[in-house]
Amino acid sequence: MIKAIAACALLMVAGVPLFAFADESAAVSANPSLSVIARAPDFTLRDTSGRIVSLSDYRGRAVLLAFIFTTCPGVCPLISQQMANLQANLKANGLFNLKANLISVTVDPETDSAAKLREYAASYGADLSGWRFLRETPNRTKPVLKSYDEWTRLLPKGEIDHPARVYLIDQQGNIREIYSLAFFNEKQALIDMRALISQPDRVDSKH
C-alpha cells in the first residue's frame, strides 16, 4: 500500500493525469449485453486448504474468475482490491456465496504456496466461503491456463507477464463477459452479475 501511494505521488509530480480513474462517475451500463462468448473450460484445482475444487461445482451460480499471482507488482493487487470491493457489494446485496462467487487462480504456483495464497487472501479480507484462491502443481496448472488462453512469460527483470483478463461465467458454465484488468470496474461487474442472477436462463441472441 505504501509503495502504491508513493508511486502515485511520483506520478502526480510527473503530471500524469489521474482524474478519470478517481472519478466516481466513470460510466457503467445498466443494461449490459452479455452474449455467450464461449463455454468456460472446466478445471479442477485445490483451494488454500488443499480441498479439490472444480469450476463445475459452481453450476447454478455466477462466477467471476481472475488469474493472479501474489508477487505481481501492478495489476494483480489492483484486481484483488477491486474484487474485495465487489465481495462487500455482493454481501450487501445478499448474493455472495449463494448466488455469486469469486475465484482467483494463481498463474505462478511455484512461488504461490497454499500458505502464501492464504496470507494473500487474508490481506484482502477475502471471505473464503465465497471467494476461493486456487492453485495446483505447475504441471496441472499449465493446461488450465492454456484453456483460458492465459499464457505466462518471464520479463527481463524476472516479472511475470500474462494477459490482463477477468472472466464472468454464468450459471450454466458459459463465459458471458471478459474484462480487461486495466479498465475493470467493479460496479459494472456487480451490475453484470446481478443481470445473470435475475435472468438465469437469458442468453442474448447472436443478431
Partner: protein, 412 residues
C-alpha cells in the same frame, strides 16, 4: 478493518496502479491501436505489413515481415512473406488481439479473416486459422478494421450479406469463434473505444459492392448515411447517438485523444477534405463540428496522432502530401507542417515514442492511381515537424518485394 482501510484509498490507488501498470495510458504510448492491447514499451524491431499483389488476383495476398531494428544488418528489408493460400482477397487492415499474440488480417473482397500467431515467435508469424464463411456467420460483408476488446475482436463490417446496404460490427473470440453481430445504420469503417467512458465511436465509408466496382461507376446514392459517425454504449452494444456532418462524407479514420479523461477526438472526411471534432458534453451527449479544412484535392485517407495529444498526422491520398496538425489548442487546430511530393500516401503508423511515422501508398485496387508502390519513413522532431528519411524506402514496384500493393502495418 483491513477492507475499510482499502476502501478509503481505493480510488487513488486504482488510479496509480493503472497508470503505473499500463504505459498505454501515459504520454509515451503506441497510438491508434485499441487501448486494450498490451503496449509496446520499446523501439520497434519488426513490422508486419498486410499486402496484395499489384495485379489483383495474380498471386496470393501476404503478410510481410520487415526488419525495422535500426541496429540490424537487414534493417529495412523484408525478411519473409507469409502467403495466405488464396488470391483476390484484397488485403486491407490488420489488428492485434488484446494480448498481442495474434494478428487478425481482414480482406475486403472475400470477407475472409486470416489469423496469424505472432506470440510464439514474433519474427516468424504463422497462419493458424482462416475464417472462410464470415458473411454466413455474421450476416455482414466487407470487414474493414479488426479491433481488440478483452478476449475478443470487434470487426467493423461495411455492408449487409450481399455487399450492399448498412453493415455492422462482428464479434469473434480471439481464436476465431463467432460471438455476435451488431447492426449499424451506416457502412462501418473503423471502431474506436474510450473504455473509461464506456463509449465507442464507429466511422463510415461505403458498402462492399462500391469498392468492387470500377471507380468511375461508383454510386454514392447506394451508400448508407456516409456523413455520419455513430456513438455506442460499448457494454450494451447499442447506438446512442448519430453525429452528422451535414454535407461532408466518407468519414474514415477516427481518433480519441489519449489522455485519460479526454472527452474529445477527431476524424477525417475524405470526400469533404476536412477534419471533424467530436466531443462528449457534461450531460453525456456528443457535439460534432468541423475543425479544419485540409485543402481542396487532398482526399484524406488516414489520420494518426502523437502520443502526447499535441499533433495529428494526415495523409492526402490525392494531394500527394502528408500534413501535421497542431492540436494543442483542441478547438483551434492549425496546419503545422507538410511533406509534399509523396505520391498517393495512404496508411500511416506512428511509433510508441512519437518519433517515427511509417507510411504506405496503396488504398484499394479500384482507386489506386499510381503503381509506384512503396513504404517510406518520416522522422518526427520533438516539435512535431517532419522530415522524409532518405535511408528508408521499400520499393514494391518490382521483385523481390513486389510488385505488390502495401497497405496496413503493425509494429512489434
Amino acid at each position: 478493518m483491513r477492507l475499510a482501510r482499502y476502501n478509503t484509498l481505493t480510488s487513488v490507488v486504482l488510479a496509480c496502479s493503472v497508470a503505473a501498470a499500463f504505459p498505454a495510458l501515459q504520454s509515451a504510448a503506441e497510438t491508434c491501436i485499441s487501448p486494450y492491447i498490451k503496449a509496446l514499451k520499446q523501439p520497434e524491431k519488426v513490422m508486419y505489413l498486410w499486402a496484395l499483389p499489384a495485379t489483383v488476383g495474380e498471386g496470393e495476398d501476404f503478410l510481410a515481415v520487415i526488419d525495422v531494428s535500426l541496429a540490424s544488418p537487414t534493417y529495412g528489408k523484408i525478411l519473409q512473406k507469409i502467403p495466405v493460400g488464396s488470391s483476390g482477397n484484397e488485403a486491407h487492415h490488420i489488428g492485434f488481439t488484446d494480448d498481442r499474440t495474434k494478428i487478425w488480417a481482414a480482406s475486403l473482397n472475400t470477407s475472409r479473416m486470416f489469423i496469424f500467431d505472432v506470440g510464439e515467435d514474433p519474427m516468424s508469424p504463422r497462419l493458424v486459422k482462416v475464417i472462410d464463411n464470415v458473411p454466413q456467420l455474421t450476416g455482414l460483408t466487407g470487414p474493414h478494421t479488426p479491433y481488440a476488446i478483452p478476449g475478443r475482436m470487434l470487426i467493423s463490417m461495411a455492408s449487409g450479406p450481399d455487399g450492399t446496404g448498412p453493415g455492422g460490427l462482428a464479434e469473434f473470440t480471439n481464436d476465431g469463434r463467432f460471438v455476435a453481430s451488431h447492426n449499424a445504420t451506416n457502412n462501418p469503417y473503423e471502431t474506436v473505444v474510450k473504455p473509461e467512458f464506456n463509449r465507442m465511436i464507429t466511422s463510415t465509408w461505403f458498402p462492399q459492392k462500391t469498392w468492387m466496382t470500377p471507380f468511375d461507376k461508383w454510386d454514392p446514392s447506394t451508400w448508407s448515411h456516409p456523413n455520419t459517425l455513430l456513438v455506442w454504449d460499448l457494454k450494451e452494444r447499442k447506438i446512442l447517438q448519430t453525429l452528422s456532418s451535414d454535407n461532408d462524407a466518407v468519414m474514415l479514420a477516427a481518433r480519441w485523444m489519449l489522455k485519460p479523461g479526454a472527452r474529445y477526438g477527431y476524424n477525417i472526411s475524405s470526400a469533404g477534405n476536412s477534419i471533424w471534432m467530436f466531443k462528449m458534453n457534461d450531460d453525456g451527449t456528443f457535439s460534432y463540428n468541423k475543425a479544419a479544412d485540409t485543402g481542396a484535392g487532398c482526399s484524406p485517407a488516414d489520420l494518426r496522432q502523437s502520443p502526447d495529444d499535441k499533433y495529428l498526422y494526415l495523409s492526402c491520398f490525392m494531394g500527394s502530401e502528408i500534413q501535421a496538425w497542431d492540436i494543442s489548442d483542441p478547438e483551434h487546430i492549425k496546419l503545422h507542417d507538410t511533406i509534399q511530393g509523396v505520391v498517393q500516401p495512404n496508411m500511416m503508423h506512428v511509433t510508441y515514442d512519437g518519433r517515427r511515422l511509417y507510411f504506405t501508398n496503396s488504398a484499394i485496387s479500384s482507386i489506386d492511381y499510381s503503381p509506384r508502390y512503396s513504404m517510406q519513413l518520416v522522422q518526427i522532431g520533438p516539435d512535431g515537424r517532419m522530415k522524409l528519411d532518405p535511408n528508408f524506402k521499400i520499393d514494391f514496384t518490382k521483385a523481390p518485394e513486389g510488385p505488390a500493393r502495401p497497405h496496413d502495418m503493425l509494429l512489434n
